[in-house]
């Protein structure tokens, strides 16, 4: 059975584990390099990106995850997870490390502070999805290999890129794991299964 890990250093790990379980895959927390070896794919949850980055360095997960991503392991990141999959971060800490993998520039806390956090619908892969943005980033630049999957539909930030895919890597600025709408997780699970078929 397909096994998908959720990076469990900090953040809304439980919500992602729950959403993945509903998509009929084995979902497990990953905090150690050995646990990373046992998963086919990885979800990087929402949380505080500076804390996740620091803990990933301290507990020696940064390089192993970078290596797995370079080898083609599928990964999905929501919010802080999107930041962790970005090749470049604006408004981060100077020493902030990311796993990278997606050729994009992401601005941290782009929508503002918590009082500016909001719920709205977004376009995702041609569908309209309920989306929760919490001190969320947005994407300011995408490289040539990156497919824009979703944009903000209304309000002052209308048109901003908030979902992208590059190869086996998927990222959203919003939190589908908080809404009970499984479409983004299903999209990722399909991607993981396809990657597994392709690798055989």
């Amino acid at each position: 059975m397909t096994t998908i890990g959720v990076l469990a250093l900090q953040g809304d790990v439980r919500e992602h584990l729950g959403a993945l379980a509903e998509c009929d895959v084995l979902a497990r927390p990953v905090r150690r390099p050995a646990e990373l070896d046992d998963v086919d794919a990885l979800v990087v949850p929402g949380g505080e990106s500076t804390a996740i980055s620091k803990l990933a360095v301290t507990f020696e997960l940064l390089d192993p995850i970078r290596k797995r991503i370079a080898e083609g392991m599928p990964a999905y990141g929501s919010c802080a997870g999107m930041i962790m999959l970005a090749s470049e971060v604006l408004d981060g800490r100077p020493d902030q490390q990311t796993f990278g993998g997606i050729d994009m520039t992401v601005r941290r806390n782009a929508f503002g502070r918590q009082v500016d956090s909001f719920e709205d619908t977004v376009d995702f892969d041609g569908d309209s999805l309920p989306a929760v943005f919490i001190r969320a980033p947005w994407v300011e630049r995408t490289g040539p290999g990156v497919r824009v999957m979703g944009r903000v539909t209304g309000g002052p930030a209308a048109g901003r890129i908030v979902a992208v895919r590059q190869g086996n890597l998927l990222a959203t600025a919003f939190h589908p794991e908080l809404t009970g709408d499984l479409r983004v997780h299903r999209h990722f699970v399909d991607l993981v299964r396809q990657a597994d078929v392709d690798a055989r």
Partner: protein, 305 residues
């Protein structure tokens, strides 16, 4: 996410929805929130891997030592902390002081702690937290108190413990009490939940939801007396979803190293090897006071109801 009824004033989309407020706390889970009194301390906290800082004028240990009326911090001081760090900034308002809360919201703080550590402004009413866009965290010593705060709109709960002591015993008592009362609810037949709600002095719908889910509808952190990595890890093992550390860090011998160690021990709270490693060579912990030595009227956890 919870579907329990919220006042009609709370919107379904846009800013300030229940999901946005409670969701913010979900993102802090597994993390450490540190009390700081200036920009320099805020930077140390961020460097150590804190998920947020709590801006206040005096840490609880000093409030306890110096006495007097304790109030919301100076807006200049809060501004300087917001400017110094990129992580979320929380700040404390007095229980019932809705204007302090309005001011904190206008300053752009990310979470308001309606806190018993400050001197209460109203001995009957807490703040109507549904009326705000910014989310609130409130303290609780038992399940009924937690559910009353959630009914008033709190989007996050922290078990109170006894702030400013460095004595973890009340933190364990309050966490065990709340978790025990939740477990008891889950074991009750449905027809006994009406009386349970009456005894808890909390709305029946909310009691029913907790009984069905076996957890609060919001995130619960621990607070009040956490001074060492082992304290933080124990509270996580007892069911806390994250840790507030007040005086424990900046009243200790080596704040940066201790802050760092408590962050690591919180993430690896179930791994004694990691906790042992980070506990080495930390220097002096805060001196602390035994809760038993504090006369009952001076115990902060008794404030709020």
């Amino acid at each position: 996410m919870s579907e329990h009824p919220t006042p009609a004033a709370t919107p379904d989309t846009g800013t300030g929805t229940a999901r946005v407020k409670r969701g913010m706390a979900e993102m802090l889970k597994g993390g450490v929130i540190m009390d700081v009194v200036n920009a320099e301390q805020a930077k140390i906290a961020e460097d150590a891997g804190a998920v947020a800082v709590m801006a206040l004028e005096r840490v609880p240990a000093d409030i306890r030592a110096q006495g007097g009326v304790s109030r919301m911090s100076d807006p200049d001081m809060i501004d300087s902390i917001i400017a110094a760090v990129s992580i979320p900034v929380m700040a404390k308002a007095r229980i019932g002081h809705f204007v302090e809360a309005q001011v904190l919201q206008s300053l752009g703080v990310d979470y308001i702690d309606e806190s018993e550590v400050l001197t209460p402004a109203d001995y009957a009413n807490h703040i109507d937290k549904w009326a705000f866009t910014v989310p609130f965290v409130c303290g609780a010593t038992n399940l009924g108190e937690a559910l009353r705060r959630i009914t008033e709109g709190a989007a996050m709960i922290r078990s109170k413990g006894e702030a400013g002591t460095g004595d973890v015993s009340n933190a364990t008592t309050h966490m065990r009490t709340i978790r025990g009362e939740i477990r008891r609810l889950t074991s009750l037949p449905e027809d006994e939940l009406y009386v349970a709600a009456k005894e808890l002095q909390a709305p029946y719908e909310l009691v029913k939801e907790v009984a069905a889910n076996g957890k609060l509808p919001v995130v619960m952190f621990t607070a009040g007396g956490i001074a060492t990595p082992a304290d933080a890890a124990m509270m996580m093992q007892l069911g806390a979803e994250g840790v507030f550390v007040g005086s424990g860090i900046f009243k200790s011998g080596n704040p940066a190293q201790r802050a760092n160690a408590i962050v690591k021990a919180t993430t690896f709270h179930d791994d004694p090897d990691v906790i042992a490693k980070v506990s080495r060579g930390l220097g002096e912990a805060m001196v602390g006071i035994n809760v038993d030595d504090i006369p009952v009227p001076h115990r902060l956890a008794e404030r709020g109801w």
